[in-house]
Amino acid sequence: MNAPTKKLKVATTSLAGCFGCHMSFLDIDERLFTLLDYIEFDRSPLTDIKECSPDCDIGIVEGGLCNAENVHVLREFRKNCKILIAIGACAINGGLPAQRNHLPLSTILEEVYHTSPGLANGMIPNDPELPLPLNKVHPIHEVVKVDYFMPGCPPSGDAIWKVLTDLLAGREPTLEHGLMHYD
């Protein structure tokens, strides 16, 4: 690949995720330098830019939707990024946070803040600054259109590299045996 004249703007975020996918992204190691010939980071934990530029080319979203703020950020990404990629199990199927989905939210809050052993009459946090939790955790494709998916918990650095280089080269991303993992 020849270095392009204009670099693609890439935004990344972690919603209801653990940042494991971002850590795995860093596992592309020295290939990050090659990648930086082609892209520049916009909103991302790596830059600490707080809002997406309106002309982002690629948005990479880790984590599912467990509260109202997650939905807000996801919609911001969809609005500002030409291509949206879901990275990791949580963004794709809700993942670990979605394991609460068979329990009523009120029961969970009660147990965490009131009835667990060792709690001294705690209260359920209700500061207006705190985003409200959703009744259920949802994968991101249930709320916005998602263009590409990188499965894995997390996807390996090699899988992330494969998808990104496929996209940069204008190919439909594929993951062959060994790179495709749901765990």
């Binding site: 199927n93 979605a98 989905n101 249930e142 998916f149 993951l175 765990d183």
Partner: protein, 234 residues
């Protein structure tokens, strides 16, 4: 001279009475499947093994091979439908691979890899399906059940115990345990049963044995599911 039919342009020999998938497996050609198992009478329910025979769709695990048939299997159209069926299985249950003991050895997961399933596509049901941990040796995690009925057939036809059954209809179909309490502990099920060995996903699990094989060395880490056709086709 044995008779043949054409499968994706290749002549496949077969013996009288063999199904398409049996003949294909024996010839080393993989047809994706979940409820089919070479040791059992076909059930024909998962529809993953659907092929086109002379232009019409049918389940290759139930359709007998006939001389001169023209069968299509590994085509973009059929694989897209298989992928959609697989995606529906994923969203109907709770298939959280990262915490599943069967991950890496799971036929549903390996089939999804084979079909290039990058996302579940549909909205998740997130059903509530409590596990049955009553049995001292075996855990039943119904969250992962794909209703293949292999445990039903194994328990009935091989073990002679009738421990499992599919109950309900349509989207309400679910696996039940044949005991008044509905609990596995109240049946004569044992780890030595054939039914304990056939689950293609992670429902019937031996207790205290989870995650024994490290990631990278599990069955489908080493080779894709399509490579297992040689061991299945006897």
């Amino acid at each position: 001279m044995s008779q043949t039919f054409m499968l994706d342009g290749k002549a496949i020999p077969f013996e009288e009475g063999q199904t398409i998938i049996q003949a294909a497996s024996k010839a080393g050609v993989f047809i994706p499947h979940l409820c089919y198992h070479p040791d059992f009478k076909p059930h024909g329910s998962c529809k993953l093994c659907t092929v086109k025979v002379n232009g019409r769709q049918t389940a290759s695990c139930t359709m007998r091979a006939m001389a001169g048939m023209v069968v299509e299997s590994d085509t973009e159209e059929i694989n897209a439908e298989r992928r959609a069926l697989t995606q529906m299985l994923f969203v109907e249950g709770n298939h959280f691979c990262p915490s599943c003991e069967q991950s890496g050895n799971c036929q549903l997961q390996a089939t999804a890899y084979h079909l290039g399933m990058m996302s579940p596509h549909y909205d998740h049901f997130f059903p509530s399906r409590p596990v049955d941990a009553s049995h001292p040796e075996v855990l039943l995690d119904f969250n992962r059940c794909i209703l293949c009925s292999l445990c039903v057939r194994a328990s009935r036809d091989v073990d002679g115990k009738n421990v499992f059954a599919l109950s309900g209809r349509g989207i309400g179909t679910h696996l039940i345990v044949n005991a008044k309490s509905g609990q596995l502990a109240d049946t004569d099920f044992t780890l030595a049963d054939k039914a304990a060995q056939v689950c293609p996903v992670g429902v019937i699990l031996r207790k205290r044995k989870g995650f024994a094989v490290p990631i990278g060395e599990r069955k489908y880490d080493k080779a894709p599911i399509s490579a297992s056709v040689e061991t299945e086709g006897r």
